[in-house]
Symmetry: C2
Subunit: 189 residues, 2 copies
């Protein structure tokens, strides 16, 4: 948004809570009216979302238990960026950790903000093609079920609200435009 | 997800920080392996996202400064549910507050979770049709710019990643299927 200024100025920053996953950050801010306010938000290192497509044109979905919402949700592989890790490296690492996948090609799709009024969480989306599945290296607290579905079915699930993990649904729908352009290389998808 | 049990049991709950917008909630949890862990997440009352379509078939978008991400983002009207307010009432209230809008019809679209691993934030999406604009009753800290764009343009913005507020982009794309079904009543959109 280069054509616009930031109308608010950060006066100071404190962290009310810190963890390896995210912090609760509280800023004192001078807003456009000249008033001072306190703004408290979740400070997150950012995440990558990967839409994995196999050589047969199927999408690999996960069903995962999400404690905060108390439900099992269909998702695509995703995870937080670690340290100063390159985004594509993070995407390849998460693909391997969550579904034991390797991708012939990893295409960058774009980014969005997951909940911009209360978190700085930025999600960067990748389309992984030519994906082959192997052994995953899951973290022990994750309960994950994996299935592959035809691309058209995965997109329909995302469009019809059957994928209730919002970040995953949007990642899938953003890949649709790219995927509709057809195979990049014969046989690779 | 009625066919599946919740595999984790909440042992106790504390709130590390509380506000009128959300809390930072920390639970002690017994997970499926029998181990006890601590899970800390954002506890939110839930929000409504409204896709407002005018009688001329234009979508009303807002551009808003979002302090946590430091950017001006294109969005649809949205806001937190207050108290035990009915979801449709919340949607009509936010439509009035943010763009001074009134809707001839408010159709429920569905819900998603904005960031299911770190927040319980649930977004309920409404499609508002026959929307007429009046005077908005904005909160003083909100910097909002309003414009109406043809429906096809708004959907293209959401599909191409030009709407970087993820919740708004998904709300728009979820309405696309409903809108493609065509006008409910002649002349109403």
């Amino acid at each position: 948004m280069g054509e616009r200024q930031k109308p608010w100025k950060t006066l100071d920053t404190t962290r009310l809570w810190e963890s390896r996953w995210y912090n609760l950050r509280q800023d004192r801010v001078r807003i456009h009216t000249g008033d001072e306010i306190t703004y408290t938000f979740q400070e997150h290192p950012g995440a990558v979302f990967i839409v994995p497509v196999t050589p047969d044109g199927e999408v690999v979905l996960l069903r995962q238990y999400r404690y905060p919402v108390g439900e099992w949700l269909w998702e695509v592989p995703a995870g937080a960026v670690e340290g100063d890790e390159d985004l594509e490296a993070a995407a390849r690492r998460e693909l391997a950790e969550e579904i034991g996948g390797t991708a012939a090609e990893m295409r960058y799709v774009g980014h969005f903000f997951a909940a911009s009024s209360i978190s700085n969480l930025r999600d960067d989306v990748f389309l992984a093609t030519g994906v082959r599945l192997g052994q995953s290296a899951r973290e022990p607290t994750e309960l994950i079920e994996i299935k592959t579905v035809p691309l058209a079915d995965a997109l329909a699930m995302a469009r019809r609200g059957e994928i209730k993990d919002g970040e995953s649904a949007l990642a899938l729908l953003w890949c649709e435009t790219l995927l509709r352009a057809g195979p990049k290389k014969p046989g690779s998808f």
